[in-house]
Symmetry: C2
Subunit: 168 residues, 2 copies
Amino acid sequence: MAISLYAVSVPLCKQMLNSLSAILNKAQAHASAKNIEPDALLQARLFPDMFPLIRQVQIATDFARGICARLAGADVPSYESSEKTFADLQALISKTLAFIDGFTPAQIDGNEERITILRPGTPKEKKFTNQAYLLTYGLPQFYFHVTTAYAILRHNGIEIGKRDYMGA
Amino acid sequence: MAISLYAVSVPLCKQMLNSLSAILNKAQAHASAKNIEPDALLQARLFPDMFPLIRQVQIATDFARGICARLAGADVPSYESSEKTFADLQALISKTLAFIDGFTPAQIDGNEERITILRPGTPKEKKFTNQAYLLTYGLPQFYFHVTTAYAILRHNGIEIGKRDYMGA
């Protein structure tokens, strides 16, 4: 008995991306109900040199695509990060969900010991086994950006709770 | 090939608890250097109905102990949550690290399909396989509270970055 690599990647990313989508819908509804300029939330940050909400969501989806693609040995798609609205972010999340849902357990399982190289050929090159990449690098950062998006919205008074973060 | 249940639990919790300890040390040093009352950070929140830093750290350690103990089929120790200072939080993290380090792969691996029941006999009872408990419940919440502790400190101007969150 053991856990499959797929089980520790695709479904976890899906759980959190679905939560993130629901949380952003609540934020958009709140902005609309209170006549809040959407950018007041989309561009909100917890500190001036931190990324704003919109970028946190982009990076969370980057990690979801990067994790699933790398574990499958597939190319990591390059997205433009040109999102400007809540609708754009929902489209980004949907596109990311469709992308990661395209991977099957057969494409990912068994690749634990394959090598993933981040930023190859640069001074910041990092080499990992897939398992180490997922567990010590990809997942902690993925959760970091989802939680930070949540924290920015919570800090701005959106009525969401842990249940929204955890998903259905 | 597959991932062992131990590999997805004890080392991940250790990575983040060590980071959390280092981050709290930086916060304490910052408070000391700037003559900031420690409680201004320890009791800081991102929103009035969110938990303050001290509670975020307590809950993060609760999850670390709960995850590792449940997966091993051991009793989850009950701690007092009486921490009041940075030193208390460091002691709590050390005690938690020692506790989870006490589990061996042999105690955890192979327990994927055993049933974990949270809050048994209450209206909020939840039943999971160990694998589902870890992946869909324990880990997302553990990362949530570590990240929220980080976010509270970052929001209060502590000079920490993603590298501190990720650890050495």
